[in-house]
Symmetry: C2
Subunit: 459 residues, 2 copies
Amino acid sequence: MQSFEIDKTDLLRVETALQGNDADLESVLQEYHASEIALLFERLPQEARERIINILPTDIASEVISEMHEEQDPGELLIGLDPEKRSEIIEELDYDDATDIISQLDEEDQKEVLEDLDQEDAASIRALMLYPEDTAGGLMNSDLVKVNIRLDKKDALDEIIRQSEEMEEFNAIYVVDDDNTLQGVLSIKALLKAKAEAHVSDLVNTDFVFVKADLDQEDVADLISQYNLTAIPVVDGQMKLLGRITVDDIIDVMEEESTEDILKISGVSEDEELSGNWKDAVKSRLPWLVINLGTAYLAASVIRHFDSTVQELPILAAYMTIIAGMGGNAATQALAVTVRRISLNDLTDKQAYNTVIKEFLVGLINGAANGIIVFFIALFYDTDPMLGLVLFLAMTGNLIVAGLTGASIPLVLKRVGIDPAVASSIIITTFTDCAGFLLPLWFGSKLLLDAHHHVLHLH
Amino acid sequence: MQSFEIDKTDLLRVETALQGNDADLESVLQEYHASEIALLFERLPQEARERIINILPTDIASEVISEMHEEQDPGELLIGLDPEKRSEIIEELDYDDATDIISQLDEEDQKEVLEDLDQEDAASIRALMLYPEDTAGGLMNSDLVKVNIRLDKKDALDEIIRQSEEMEEFNAIYVVDDDNTLQGVLSIKALLKAKAEAHVSDLVNTDFVFVKADLDQEDVADLISQYNLTAIPVVDGQMKLLGRITVDDIIDVMEEESTEDILKISGVSEDEELSGNWKDAVKSRLPWLVINLGTAYLAASVIRHFDSTVQELPILAAYMTIIAGMGGNAATQALAVTVRRISLNDLTDKQAYNTVIKEFLVGLINGAANGIIVFFIALFYDTDPMLGLVLFLAMTGNLIVAGLTGASIPLVLKRVGIDPAVASSIIITTFTDCAGFLLPLWFGSKLLLDAHHHVLHLH
């Protein structure tokens, strides 16, 4: 089976089958993987979703629910089901997925859903609900395979087979002592190769990576990525084994974090759901725009200061927008590279210093290159070499400002513990706007007005 | 062991140890994980790196090499080593990592390195070098565990243990026929649980996901993320098993793709290395800035058209920069949300339509909200309600332009097969700049100049 996305034919087939009887619908659904059905759900009404979940075998239904995006509201779908079917599906879910879905419900629904569950399952989910969603504890799953360090090969193998019964596949076997204190990991390869008389204590690997339950999810993702792990054990302050985080959960975290980087750097609040409605979008973006309005007035006040220059040389009003706009774009470039770099790797003092120097140089060179172009346009089109000089100086100056602020502001924010992506283009362009208006108007008032006055005197 | 990053103490310890003899250095190095040593390498000179690689046991040295970032040039480090040590290290590497490193060398070095290797290893690496780096074939590893479908439980287990000897850990067991045609996957759990007389053919799972060698790496990442896989098998056109891709390689791909999104949307070429030098940065960014210079002249020509308006009302020269700047920021917001959304999920026609409608609404509301603020500032500060009306209309109009272009341009580009991130803020802000200058100047020339003339006539 190789299938990348649901196309219109698939949707049409399922929609047609939805008009027929359950048996026909069931046979059509059998051709789709659970994650494909979850994709189809994005385009089906709630009623159709419920009918499909009711028809599917419990294990597939539960996989579909776990594959649904948070914004499609899998919890609402569960609430609509018959309580018995619902409990069966939830008991089939991984605990971490069940916890995420149930946490999204309102308190009354949460209570109802948990009461219907098997006591042990309800207790496990209640325990997981205590950890904030964006920590290791919130990401972890309490379904795992663990063996006591005192077991021999045969008992360990039996235990592993017994425990893995309820799991799709295990990525790691954890070794604990009688108090559930994590002692290490056991490789299935080592266990299979070992002689019959070997004990877990002979085979355990005690050099392993673990995390505490309160660690931020971003740090967990960094660790898993750095050490190329497929799963990582989670412990409490006393090294008791609480659960494990698998790499598939981390992939979701990494996508979330990258999305946040892109949104924040563009002046969108990190809380905005990509597929949210216009009300959420207004709530997330309007505050940034109002901040920008304030900074825009600041930049415009620079222009007001040169009202008489603008009146005498309206051409500068046009050209200053070019200088400011170019500065804004160059600053956005420097900002994007620096923010992404900080996000993937912490920089040493020396690397931070080198980054600022590099962006200064890039600003100087790109500024001079574009400055030469505007110089020649002024020379040949406006036939005014002095205007060309003013624009050359302003362009070079503003692109240096762009490079310096685009690199140094996120670096400084990171040092003082603020998320560097907050140094969004909205903040940085305040600097390039102010300098972009000030430089041509100031150079213009010095070099052009004096020269024009000189010309006037000659008449 | 729990360690998140290398701090200055670690660096100091290793630097001190580097001044001592090999035995002392070796004992200090023993306390670090290979990926930590790779991090330390970022701050150590080439000479020190070579000495450390020579001291480390081959398996650790090879892990350090594979953990080094491409930009740290692990190939150069290998070239500096004694040929025998170098071949030992390369033979210890996964084939895909060895291929990536050797591909970076110049042709002569490649030839020398490959000739020193064991013939079989050299042949495998040469075969992998034929696949482009950004396809499934370029990502895959030929180290894997596979069993013939005709084997019985005992032989299969023996085979798995034998093959996994050279691997750190296997994520999946692939089942092939006598012609190496992929038949399915085998779960170790199913094999362990099976009765002694069971055959692989009874246990094989034939409902599995695979990819062809020429599939783009971005599609491979989507599949692994969608189906929550830890590894995926790679086949040729005849379903022959070529290799497998593991999730840790995909994590790197996902980080790369997110970085590209952020850079492109900010007008930085995707080829720019985050830690590249100033020359690369100029090469990557200058072309975009020159394009922007052209579009900025276009926008400025709008202003030149209203020279007389600007001369009579220089205040508009200041205020138009506010309208244009606000439009640019609102467009960047809409663009970031839309590009990221397209990047994570394809949108249906209906979703695309809804996105444009949503961004129109957001533009209208955010535009009106900011328009009211500028209206009151004009009313109380400039005591000119007509100026306030001009600015209100221009702000609302430009933020609608921002929403419409920020959402629709990337969607249209995606439809015609162009990467939507190329609709960078640099392109989109051309529209908001033109509209941002045109709207206040045009409304101003109609509503303000006529009114002023009217006042003059009354005198």
